[in-house]
Symmetry: C2
Subunit: 387 residues, 2 copies
């Protein structure tokens, strides 16, 4: 790596995707650790747990029972963070000017889904071959497609999708046109350290009438970049650059690049980015969905191999809004983030706390060092996969 | 509260201090919890631990020994996140244009201190009467004063401070004028849940050549507000408004307001704000330092009483930069943030994970509900304080 000096000195890096900075302290991993340790995360789970509300046939919180599903299963979250139907919010007629400046709020409607990855309680994405991850990607694509605004240029693409013709999502999941939503966030919390309250492999899908902060910031930055650089996409330029530099690449296949981004905050943070300009899940070809499944498999398996543990993380997909201007849709560039907390071993994590919350995110090892480690732990999953 | 509907519907609130939004889901605390539980945090610590590197007389990581101190003790962090002396960073002469756009970095110099609050290993701020917290505030003030740029209007104020004349900080702590730093972040991580690696009561002070992201965002927002509102300070208007509304106040004294801010992210987040315009620690009168100590005592004691546990949190002070334009200094408004993770009990915390990291911060109870609970648990500390 040419900028070797960045392995030695404390410095800041700029995240062009968010428009923000973070602090890097490469020399800092030497300090002793007397703080909290995580559970090492050994898999002693049964493949079916009668008490799990995600296992096939089991009852859920509000009385309904799960079907005897064989691949994935999607349902509306029994404790959704946003509601589909609720009173509209209008601020009190501003008796005073200060309230309207300093106590601002707006109502948010939406729908939250839970999607199980497998009927097997004890599996994780790392245990599942790419072929078994494909049904998950297909379900993501279907759910996303079914929520697109009719005016969204992607709606046309979705209508022509083979997998939608094969099997459209159940009507009960799709909101009526009068309730068009703005953004769909697909994310997974894996492991107790990342607040996951049930180990059964699953993700969540929160869909809101508003464009949330993180994708909103990316949307602004990506639009700005295109305007300033003759219509080129920020992430496409970034992919090109990383392929030239070969310093932060963890893995790649024909369609996807897996990198520890230059501006990573979490110790082993990675991004999966499409090599060509893809706006959203519905743009992916069947071949690309397979490559996406492979990329996810590579990331999660390497994570588990790194410290020989079931590696915790939060992951999420950023793509085009469900509803938005044609320009916004066109500016969108499909990618997936993984934010894992572990730093030095299966039990010692990085805490993003005092300084990080009050001042600026701070990391200890460099993304280049992280990439080397993740590159070096490919191959078979360290543990036997019980299917 | 007039906006009662906000107790029922999911909504977003705007944080004018940062210029960002968060999602509020007041109906969401009903869901069951099967996830990670924290240690309940019972204090079984001795008042002196021979293995603790912060206790008086004990050796530290790099061989030095602590003095036999009786109140506070400050030293340079043995594992600083930033270094005082290091090579300058210059990006490689830009062979390609993309690197200079997408791989941006800058060197950061600085100094990190650790400050113990007491020689007693087993105490926390909640155990210490306000009179014992005053020496901590005095040390913060001295360290801050000693780092001010000579051109900073606050340097003059600092020079006239009684407590500086009584006892200036040791020369070894003060950087030479050639190494003027830009910002000083004082913060505390308390409890294992907030990544604290040593229970001995202490805070950290990180001082950098750059203005970090959080205070930078606040600086911009505060400046904008003043420009748009005839020179009024955002936080002074906010204090006025909260005192009128009486909905989010936890406690107040003559000089400070303690509120759960309208835009709080963490379940029991609070802010301590000065009632009059104070730019930095050195602006506080002796009387105000006492009131500040009282406010800190009120917050930490109420926290502990809430779930009858040693409540974890990260806290931090935002104030004027050490170096900056006269306008920047004048726009600064002294305040302290507390970000505690606990949500429902001593063992169940709020995780800011998947959705929060990928999309937008999300909270479950409203700040108004949190304020009621914190208001109602004043009075004596629930546990006996062993001094
Ligand atoms: O310096 P400490 O207490 O060992 O470390 C703690 O606080 C730092 C500043 O917020 C964080 O960077 C670390 O991740 C955390 O464990
Ligand atoms: O919905 P779950 O899995 O119970 O909850 C988890 O993920 C949510 C979305 O990131 C967070 O808001 C919760 O704090 C976390 O515990």
């Amino acid at each position: 790596m040419p900028d070797k000096i960045l392995d030695e000195i404390s410095h800041r890096r700029y995240n062009p995707l968010k428009g923000s900075w973070l602090l890097v302290s490469p020399h800092r991993t030497k300090r002793p650790w007397q703080g909290q340790k995580e559970e090492p995360g050994v898999n002693k789970l049964p493949d079916y747990d009668p008490k799990c509300y995600l296992c096939p046939r089991n009852p859920r919180a509000q009385g309904e029972s799960n079907p005897d599903y064989s691949q994935t299963f999607v349902f509306v979250n029994d404790y959704s963070a946003v509601k589909e139907q609720q009173q509209d919010y209008e601020a009190e007629p501003s008796s005073d000017d200060l309230s309207s400046l300093l106590l601002r709020a707006e109502g948010v409607k939406g729908k939250c889904f839970v999607l199980t990855f497998s009927p097997k309680h004890h599996l994780t994405l790392a245990d599942m071959p790419a072929s078994e991850t494909i049904p998950i990607i297909e379900t993501w694509t279907r759910i996303y497609a079914a929520h697109l605004a009719p005016t969204n240029p992607l709606a046309q693409v979705a209508a022509n999708l083979d997998l939608m013709r094969r099997e459209a999502p159940p009507e009960s999941l799709v909101p009526p046109p009068s309730q068009q939503l703005r953004y769909m966030q697909i994310f997974e919390n894996k492991g107790a350290a990342m607040g996951c309250s049930n180990p059964h492999p699953h993700c969540q899908i929160w869909t809101t009438s508003t464009l949330p902060e993180e994708p909103a910031a990316e949307t602004i930055q990506m639009a700005k970049y295109r305007t300033e650089h003759s219509g080129r996409h920020l992430l496409q330029d970034y992919v090109k650059l990383e392929m030239e530099k070969q310093e932060r690449i963890v893995h790649q296949n024909e369609s996807f690049l897996v990198v520890c981004p230059w501006w990573a905050i979490w110790p082993f943070e990675v991004m999966i980015i499409t090599k060509r300009h893809v706006r959203a899940l519905v743009d992916l070809t069947e071949q690309e969905r397979l490559h996406f499944a492979e990329a996810i498999q590579e990331v999660t398996r390497r994570y588990d191999n790194l410290f020989e543990t079931s590696f915790p993380y939060s992951s999420g997909i950023h793509q085009a809004p469900l509803d938005g201007t044609d320009e916004e849709i066109e500016n969108s560039y499909f990618h997936m983030h993984f934010y894992p907390p572990l730093l030095r071993s299966a039990t010692v994590r990085k805490f993003l706390v005092g300084y990080e919350l009050m001042a600026e995110p701070q990391r200890d090892i460099t993304p280049e060092q992280a990439a080397v480690k993740l590159r070096d732990c490919g191959g078979e999953l360290y543990r036997k996969t019980l299917q």
